[in-house]
Amino acid sequence: MTATAAIEPDSASNGHLSASSAADISRDRLNHIQLLEAESIHIFREVVSEFQNPVMLYSIGKDSSVMLRLAQKAFHPGPIPFPLLHVDTGYKFREMLEFRDRYTAELGLKLIVWRNEEALANGANPIKLGTQRCCGLLKTQALLDGLRSQGFDAAFGGARRDEEKSRAKERIFSFRDGAGQWDPKNQRPELWSLFNGKIGPGESIRVFPLSNWTELDIWHYIHLENIPIVPLYFAKPRKMLVRADSLIPLEQPFIQGLPGEEQLVKCRLRSLGCSPCTGAIRSDADTVPKIIEELMEVRNSERANRIIDHDQDGSMEIKKREGYF
């Protein structure tokens, strides 16, 4: 008997090699992408089996898109058995929101959008409050309220350990106390793939199925699986404020351009955050393979253009303790 993997061609991926059929299965060795995929699917199934009311934190970015595909695979031929929760800070890019509404409708998923309307009504913004305080209100507080609103006891997040120092020591099942807070000094040890999902009333777990994926793995998977992503990731000429090395999106309402600063630049976003706090990078990468090529040669880390990570040393750990994910 031959050892080919798929009997039926993969109609969904338009002739792309899919991660599970491209392998040299005759050697019973999975490549790294297939290994990561199998591990993530295992995590999704554990959570849905052990918790009453899971939800996926959907940030619209590339990692969320990959999480959605993995969730589809985990429960196929059944549907994704949990809703999505998007924490909308009110400062997300217009193209992100359009993509969110179109794509989640296409997949027939239940989407919950949660905003801290009170803080927004009081004029919360990063210039006025500083980024720490702004994130605290519009992201962390909104996230905790959104989770509490429907009594979610497990929340999938797309964070990866390779993104940032404090995330490198994060668990896959990350325990949160009744206030949604992370205690990095008192984390549950996590061995093999035996995840401890036991919690008390009011407590919850954040789950990170992409923990072991790197930025390059994510892009590779998007390429292999032909996964839709927000067009902001692709380079095209965009009007930007050009100030020193920074490309500041015009969409943010806070920084006014000086004469000559507004320029048409071929650029893209490497990670998607809020428009006031996310810079673009100059790039010609207008396809996924070109983005991968750019990444293979890039010399700066992924979150280097995320202002919020650089406020103070260890700022991510501080935010995470408060409940950020």
Binding site: I7, P9, A38, E39, A74, P77, S193, L194, E293, D313
Partner: protein, 556 residues
């Protein structure tokens, strides 16, 4: 010396630009051929571990410019700071814990589980080692084997890491002496034999200068073996050494519509094809694989560690916590076994204490019935002990409320490992590796209790009564129809076979059936052997309350 280093550098640059000249399509294909090796490192601040990892990442071009810039002082890179800034984290009061790092070379992807040596050493080291294919043990060439070396090697051995690389570091400080290297290598090999580590590979290294880390050193002609990175790029993965036959712990039943009922899980060992005969455990019923479903389509073959959905030819009652396994050499069904336990809770492990135990996809109640010894990982001795404290390791005997479908840890990590969960604070209290299994045999079978309504099936009732009496159960056969009165007898341990004049479906009630809702048992059991019927009853009797297909398996 400078010339030599320059040559090495030029070779690397040339090799890199060759790779970069390839069109992106070919580079993507090359990416797909890479597999993934996980390795653990542990050590204290002074043994050069951080420097070694820093070198490994830097020399294999895996560090971003902004990171290099942030650790460069006076034009010199601080390699130790590059990886974890451990000292900086301590000064800032930021938590130190197992940290995972990722890098890749043209041959492979790697995950490093980097564990600090001073805080929670055993807990962190065991955590990092639990998924590792290879462990790197650092030895200071000036000091040789220390207590911490033995501790590290011992934990690597207990956690079943098949290959240990002993990096004999700071060779520059012993003038690259071949005698020093040989002396340390010999004592490390003796240690490996004592700990039953299958393979230990000593490499002479100067992490600070990069000798034998990524590039082979020209300063130690007595050593003509591979560098550490070359080893990491070629050593086999741990899963390729797993001996067990096919096993699929059922994580979840996927039933989107009437015509599809699939068992979802990650294959922990072996391979499977449609048509293969399998065992459904713990019931022991046999069936055949109808299909292997994935999002991409049906597979003609699936193997570990793929996550799949398997459908069977027969309607078999299987749910979360059960297992589908090969007919040949299936896992053993056990409620009593011996395990090595690494204790991770501030509340000590004591004999008689009850915990929740998670094994594969099921969680059961477990009692520690015996503490045989505590292992002294620094002197490699076993001593008697009254309890296991935080970061202690010991040999215990555990009994579970319902059977595990288990293998020995050395045969299969996935089905030989377990965690113990504190029943009060839900913390992960211990990690266990099964060393010896006492199989559930007829002699040890506990008498079961329950109310079985068989309707008008006198032959079945008679056969069951006979079979049950042999097991020592207290059997009552009656035509009395008062369910609640009969359940009172069940609660004191009776097994009641209740008959009636109707040919109703066979139903089973347990002592906890407060709602009076019975478990229906499919009629084809009527014609099966009484042993099989009883196995099904036992399975139901041991199910957690509120059971459905996707019950969380906690049984409480």
């Amino acid at each position: 010396m400078a010339t030599t280093e320059k040559n090495v550098l030029e070779v690397t640059v040339a090799a890199q630009s060759d790779e970069e000249r390839l069109p992106i399509e070919q580079r993507l294909e090359a990416e797909l051929r890479k597999d993934l090796l996980r390795f653990s490192t542990a050590g204290s601040v002074d043994d050069g571990k951080s420097t070694l990892i820093g070198r490994l990442l830097y020399d294999s071009h895996n560090v971003y410019d902004d990171h290099i810039k942030s650790v460069t002082r006076n034009a010199a890179i601080d390699f130790a700071q590059l990886t974890d800034g451990l000292r900086a984290e301590r000064e800032q009061g930021i938590t130190i814990d197992v940290a995972y790092r990722y890098f890749s070379t043209p041959k492979r992807k790697f995950i490093i589980a980097d564990t600090p040596g001073h805080e929670q050493y055993t807990r962190n080291m065991a955590t990092g080692a639990s998924t590792a294919d290879v462990a790197i043990v650092l030895v200071d060439a000036r000091k040789g084997i220390l207590n911490q070396t033995r501790r590290h090697a011992c934990i690597a051995s207990l956690l079943g890491i098949p290959i240990v690389i002993a990096a004999i570091n700071k060779m520059d400080l012993v003038e690259f002496s071949p005698e020093v290297f040989k002396q340390h290598s010999d004592s490390l090999q003796a240690l490996a034999r004592q700990l039953e580590i299958p393979r230990l590979i000593p490499v002479p290294v100067s992490a600070l200068d990069g000798d034998n880390v990524v590039h082979r050193s020209t300063r130690m002609p007595f050593y003509d073996g591979p560098s550490i990175l070359e080893l990491l790029e070629t050593l086999p993965l741990a899963i390729e050494r797993t001996q067990a036959t096919f096993r699929l712990p059922v994580q979840r039943v996927i039933r989107p519509h009437q015509d599809f009922r699939g068992f979802a899980g990650q294959i922990t060992a072996g391979a499977v094809h449609p048509g293969d005969e399998i065992l459904a455990l713990p019931s022991g019923r046999r069936s055949r694989v109808k299909s292997i479903t994935t999002w991409e389509g049906e597979l003609a073959r699936a193997h570990a560690p793929q996550s799949v959905v398997v459908s069977l030819e027969d309607e078999i009652d299987l749910s979360r916590g059960d297992m589908i396994a090969a007919i040949e050499a299936p896992p053993r069904k056990t409620t009593r076994f011996e395990a090595t336990v690494v204790w991770m809770h501030s509340k000590p492990l004591r004999v008689g204490a009850t915990y929740l135990l998670k094994h594969a996809s099921q969680t059961v109640k477990a009692t520690v019935v015996e503490l045989r010894s505590r292992i002294d990982v620094e002197h490699l001795a076993e001593n008697s002990a009254a309890q296991l404290g935080l970061n202690d390791i010991g040999q215990v005997v555990i009994e579970t409320s319902r059977p595990l479908l288990a293998d020995l840890y050395r045969e299969s990590r996935a089905t030989g490992s377990l965690i113990l969960i504190d029943a009060v604070d839900n913390g992960t209290a211990g990690a266990g590796m099964i060393r010896q299994i006492q199989e559930a045999s007829e002699d040890h079978k506990r008498a079961i209790a329950g109310l079985l309504k068989v309707g008008d099936r006198p032959f079945l009732a008679g056969q069951l009564e006979q079979t049950l009496l042999v097991t020592g159960a207290l059997v009552l056969r009656t035509r009395f129809a008062g369910t609640s009165q009969l359940l009172n007898l069940v609660r004191v341990g009776a097994f009641i076979i209740s008959e009636s004049d109707e040919l109703a479906p066979i139903a089973f009630l347990r002592a906890d059936s407060l709602s009076g809702k019975p478990y229906e048992i499919s009629a084809d059991f009527e014609f099966a052997r009484p042993e099989e019927f009883l196995a099904e009853i036992e399975r139901i009797a041991s199910l957690p309350t509120g059971e459905d297909d996707n019950d969380n398996g906690l049984g409480i």
